[in-house]
Chain length 419, copies 2
């Protein structure tokens, strides 16, 4: 089953808007055993959309379009596809009622222009828009080369597209189009091992399962490698489970989570389960550790406070770092990182503290401590450990890599059961 995704919208090509549909739809489909073979973005001109859809119909079984269903003059996807497939457009009463109600509920006058959204191509299934006006459309067509094709048209705004996809498009896809049978997919997330080492060791260990049809995919991000394990057909679940067990055994604590887990969630979960608390003292990461931790719903149970101590003065005043330490070793040093973590933990009265001090750049580096140098401290009630890192990348990537290393250092400490 060949799937092609067509994102329409000139703003995508001009780079005014980030295309998040590709990732979101791609992942939703992949986790259910569907694969998108090609994704295309084209501007709102009639020619570009027409050409892209015609090409897709000639080679793919299912074509998913996003955007171009709204009321403005740019919104041409519905019209162009109806024309391409020789389908007449008829006003749908239910959709019209939905649109009228949309304005009534908001107590706003309804412009005539919005009525165009109620026009439905002959034979199309209407997917009502719970979070907006324009409905999605699902169609079957055999006019292209006598092969049966499926078309799914979705609205552009993510807040409208996502619930519609989950609640209406997926059931249609699985019940009326095609349901992959015996598909199993799980992703393990690892940190602290390079991609090539992960691949090398896993290939050896899982070789006999690959011979039975197991597929392994790798995705490396800064400091992390995802291992995606897939099987199809009878016994797929069991095959994947076997591979997951073997991978976990091989990499042990380097596996920090599964599927959508992220390090900050894992940390909040471990701390919550253990009834322990955490504080952070950040210099070069500038609040990013606290930001990531507080992105996790329920973080307030374990995270009481965090300090961003950018200046030396703030490090002394808020964390009790000694001026002697700053003078002798500098703000970016093992000694300062240690005192920051200690001071933060004691002042906040928490079980754990993380500290980070480093040189994010672009300026401020020296021969001895070049841009990218960072020291990470982890303090427990018993001891304080400091790690030196070197992440010579641009400022925001530096923050991200350093925060990953800091979270990973704490996670290892938590797994040791210290504190």
């Amino acid at each position: 089953m060949q799937i092609e995704l067509i994102n329409t919208g000139s703003e995508l090509l001009l780079g005014r808007v980030l295309n998040t549909h590709q990732q979101w739809i791609g992942r939703r489909l992949a986790d259910l055993g569907y694969e998108v073979a090609r994704q295309i973005a084209v501007p709102d001109t009639g020619d570009a959309i027409r050409q892209a859809v015609a090409e897709a119909l000639s080679r793919s079984d299912l074509i998913i379009t996003t955007g171009g269903l709204g009321p403005t003059s740019d919104d041409r996807t519905r019209d162009l596809i109806a024309e391409l497939l020789n389908r007449s457009l008829t006003e749908n009463i239910d959709v019209m009622r939905h649109i009228t109600g949309f304005f009534k509920r908001r107590n706003r006058p309804m412009p005539d222009s919005v009525k165009v959204q109620a026009l439905i191509p002959e034979g199309a299934k209407v997917l009502m828009n719970q979070c907006g006006m324009a409905p999605g459309l699902a169609m079957t067509d055999s006019s292209f080369g006598n092969k049966k094709r499926f078309l799914l048209m979705l609205p552009g705004p993510p807040s409208e597209l996502r619930p519609m996809f989950d609640q209406q498009a997926l059931p249609w896809l699985q019940d009326d189009v095609f349901r992959p049978v015996g598909f199993a997919c799980r992703t393990l997330r690892s940190t602290g091992i390079g991609e090539s080492r992960v691949e090398e060791q896993l290939r050896e260990r899982l070789d006999h399962l690959v011979e039975q049809g197991l597929e392994i995919g790798y995705c490396a991000r800064k400091g992390e490698v995802d291992v995606r394990i897939i099987a199809r057909g009878d016994g797929a679940e069991a095959l994947v489970a076997k591979a997951i067990d073997a991978t976990r055994e091989l990499f042990g604590r380097s596996i920090y989570g599964e599927d959508d887990d992220c390090l900050e969630e894992v940390i909040v979960r471990i701390l919550t389960d253990a009834g322990k608390t955490l504080t952070v003292a950040e210099s070069c990461t500038g609040g990013y550790l606290a930001h990531r931790l507080t992105n996790v719903p329920g973080a307030s149970k374990v995270f009481d406070s965090g300090l961003v101590t950018y200046s030396n003065e703030a490090k002394m005043r808020l964390l009790g770092v000694l001026s002697k330490t700053l003078e002798e070793h500098g703000a970016v040093s093992e000694a300062t990182a240690g005192e920051m973590a200690d001071g933060a933990r004691q002042k906040a009265g928490t079980d754990y503290a993380i500290s980070v001090t480093g040189i994010a750049g672009p300026t401020g580096g020296t021969a001895e401590k070049p841009v990218g140098t960072a020291f990470i401290g982890v303090a427990t009630r018993e001891s304080t450990t400091v790690l030196k890192c070197f992440n010579p990348v641009e400022r925001e990537s530096f923050k991200h890599m350093t925060s990953q290393q800091a979270f990973e250092m704490l996670r290892r400490e938590l797994l040791r059961g210290g504190g």
Copy 2:
């Protein structure tokens, strides 16, 4: 000049990675007068890449590819394109030296597999990778239908692609390929006015310039509207300048910046110029304000420290919020936000302080203070102002919208010249 962008990588289609190249490259090119006519993402299979590149060569003048230049078995773009264009691959000494140095500087052993990155197709211009190993490649070809085609191959990681694009690919594009003449484009960024009002008012004011060929584009984001002003041909610069002046006059202080400016940069710039300092006290934004401010190089001149006070206890201990205030009004209240800002400013001894307290959700809301409620405080040496906001969106969007409102509130205060 028809430009086509091909993003390679199975992880893009599987939705494991968000494709940010489309937006970033699209915007860079659009601001210089180039337009991307089509963007495609294909998996790492040889067939898919070969087919996409061949199709692109048949219809477009410039083809830009991203990804597939690295050392793993998935990285096939260079090989496939060389094969497609009948070019032999030769090891390049400079690139090899760069790769060897990359490992030497990091004190890590060099695996044999990485050497493949030094293979350069015959006739290709090498774009050295300042932030990684694999070089970019720029090529000219006339083997497809006797039309001259240009190919630009860029590495996949954004931290490598972006500086390479700006420093090496753009000069090649402008000097060796094509430079749009008489193209002028500037973008004004506004906040606090709705998109339809911006559009309505501007249409009236700029009507006479549109008749002279001016183009205006709008892009609305949460709480912000970008106005993109374009002209072509003789006198383009002057026409755009006239429109910019009229727009600035119309919207005054609602225009916070131009082109790539963001609110945190504008704030750091105003504070730096005025020699003033800032601290932040965050509850529901959890470090995100500090993170955004410290993303700006040079922020350390104006930003001494920030406090993330998640618990009531931390608000009292670190900011001096009164327990009476918390009891009588609650942590999410005008009174608490005011005391947080005051306390933060006084304790840090800065000229300004921002405070934020609110309910990010998904839980914790009440009938009186539903999820999405936030109070923002801005304290100066003279006074403290508190604003109530309501951003009923998911957790991370809530943080972003609230931080935008907080920065905007401070910006207006700074423009008043208070403090």
